[in-house]
């Protein structure tokens, strides 16, 4: 099955999403956007999509085109309601059925992520990041979330984040979040153009789960800035079915954003 890594990532994520879940996607994240739309069409007639404060169920539409630009508020044309009417965080208690996707300028082995900046001194950062947006609150309350990276690089996947904007498994251990009193389920997978990684059951450190077709363990290790847990046998990420790829290309990503065109 010939597809781009971005298409494979979107299809992998789409299979993760369960019918009836609330799926929240931030701006300018084409892989999660495509994943959510694909899942909605394929197996999620009761999914609720939340883009830019707009809540919709658009399962009945023939196609769910990715917007040309993530900040396009014309998504309101599909709204059933607004997810916030000036009170975005008044019902976080129900976010256990919500799923979201997070990026990071740094990600550590426990899935903690950094959107703040790189450097030792917050008052004079070497690289200033965009800021935490709503990710600290989202990662605290959602049922689970996915770390999605556009690049698999040792500069991003680091031993230790200079700053943590969202707590994954904190300093490690299956009870790490419970000890902090954080109710959400935490990060489930880290998905990159090279592979899918999960977290070990006890230590909650990152482990290679599957390699995308044509990618080797060595390539992943070389581009990871910490020592990744590598099981004895690593499967290949399940390739797309013909139907998945067809729906993705003809009903979701019609303009080929994930094909780089």
């Amino acid at each position: 099955m010939n597809c781009t890594p971005q298409e494979l990532m979107a299809i992998f994520l789409s299979r993760e999403l369960k019918d009836g879940e609330q799926l929240q996607v931030g701006v300018a994240l084409p892989v999660p956007e495509a994943a959510v739309r694909l899942a909605h069409i394929m197996h999620g007639p009761n999914m609720e999509l939340i883009f830019l404060g707009t809540r919709m169920n658009v399962h009945q539409l023939e196609s769910l085109p990715l917007p040309a630009f993530g900040w396009d508020r014309r998504v309101v044309r599909w709204a059933e309601s607004y997810s916030d009417r000036g009170h975005r965080f008044d019902q976080v208690k129900d976010w256990n059925k919500r799923v979201f996707f997070i990026g990071g300028i740094q990600v550590d082995p426990m899935g903690n992520t950094n959107l703040i900046g790189i450097g030792e001194n917050h008052k004079r950062l070497k690289f200033r990041g965009p800021g935490s947006v709503g990710t600290p609150t989202l990662s605290t309350h959602v049922g689970r979330y996915y770390i999605v990276l556009n690049q698999h690089s040792a500069r991003t996947l680091v031993e230790k984040c200079d700053f943590i904007s969202s707590v994954g498994w904190s300093s490690g251990g299956a009870d790490a979040r419970k000890k902090l009193g954080i109710p959400g389920g935490g990060p489930k997978y880290c998905v990159t153009p090279l592979c899918v990684m999960d977290f070990t059951e006890e230590e909650k450190t990152m482990r290679l789960k599957s390699l995308h077709p044509g990618v080797t363990c060595e390539e992943v290790e070389l581009n990871t800035g910490f020592s990744l847990v590598i099981p004895n046998s690593v499967p290949t990420t399940t390739p797309p079915t013909e139907e998945e790829l067809d729906v993705l290309r003809t009903r979701v990503d019609k303009t080929g954003i994930l094909r780089g065109t």
């Binding site: 396009d72 605290t140 009193g181």
Partner: protein, 288 residues
């Protein structure tokens, strides 16, 4: 008997007269660009601002900002971080009150509720209370859970952009306000709204549920006032304009100065700015 209800319509100049150096100003979404351009043109200095993204970047490029209450300053068009924000942070000249959406809205809610603080959970376990000493880790008095105590955030003024208002400050956004707008309105000492259109009080009363801000302190008529950003129900964002801004802002050099001069410092009024942008360009931004 008095018989006249007072109108709240202001001119751009009357709005600027209310602003002084060092104030804390909050800007809604879409950015109230008409006000932002006047603030830059009038060389207001040392502001603490609640703003985000590219409009924040323009305020910084314009030299107005000392401190930013910041949850997001992304760029766009291949630039992950707003360029002037990034430069000012990395050179150490900008104070950043580091927060995130839930913490920001919690602080604003505390202000609206006349409380010194409110607790919030998002941010527990992160670096936020380490790099922002105003956020205190507390144990809740009922169950002993660890939470963040967020102090009240009290803007002197909130500036918003909306679709419509009557002359008395009954503002109606089209299809809902920007996500932060109502938080800013409730927290700020005063709220001034620029609108695409001023409508009759009867129009407002035909659908009172659509009134999102009941009693703004000032209303300024400013068609295309959010340009280059979108105004829901009126126009989409001017993507090529924003791309030009990012292009010149990336280098932080002379080209940025020229851009600021052309669009921010030279036009003495909103109408002059629109003339500079040109009506053909504006009419091309129809929304559908």
């Amino acid at each position: 008997m008095e018989t006249e209800r007072s109108k709240k319509i202001l001119s751009e100049k009357e709005v600027i007269a209310k602003i002084s150096d060092g104030m804390t100003l909050a800007f809604g979404e879409p950015a109230p660009m008409g006000f932002i351009r006047q603030i830059i043109r009038n060389k207001i200095r040392d502001l603490t601002v609640i703003a985000s993204g590219m409009s924040l970047d323009m305020l910084i490029a314009g030299g107005c900002v000392k401190k930013v209450i910041s949850y997001y300053a992304g760029g766009g068009f291949g630039v992950a971080v707003a360029p002037s924000f990034r430069r000012a942070c990395e050179s150490g000249e900008l104070d950043v009150w580091e927060c995130e959406e839930g913490i920001l809205t919690t602080g604003l809610e505390a202000a609206g509720k006349a409380l010194p603080y409110l607790p919030w959970r998002g941010g527990v376990g992160t670096s936020l209370p380490k790099i922002n000493k105003d956020l205190k880790l507390i144990k809740d008095p009922i169950e002993g859970q660890v939470l963040l105590a967020v102090p009240a955030i009290k803007p002197d003024m909130a500036f918003l952009h909306a679709a419509e208002s009557d002359a008395y400050g009954n503002v109606q956004h089209y299809e809902g306000p920007g996500w932060l707008d109502l938080f800013l309105y409730r927290a700020a000492k005063a709220t001034i709204v620029q609108v695409e259109k001023i409508v009759s009080n009867e129009d407002v009363r035909a659908n009172p549920w659509a009134t999102t801000i009941a009693g703004a302190d000032g209303i300024v008529r400013m068609p295309y006032g959010a340009h280059p950003f979108y105004s829901r129900g009126y126009y989409v964002q001017d993507t090529s304009f924003l791309r030009s801004y990012i292009d010149v802002a990336k280098d932080q050099g002379e080209q940025l100065e020229d851009f600021l001069t052309r669009y921010f410092f030279s036009p003495i009024s909103h109408e002059e700015y629109l003339e500079e942008v040109g009506i053909k360009r504006l009419l091309s931004l129809y929304e559908y």
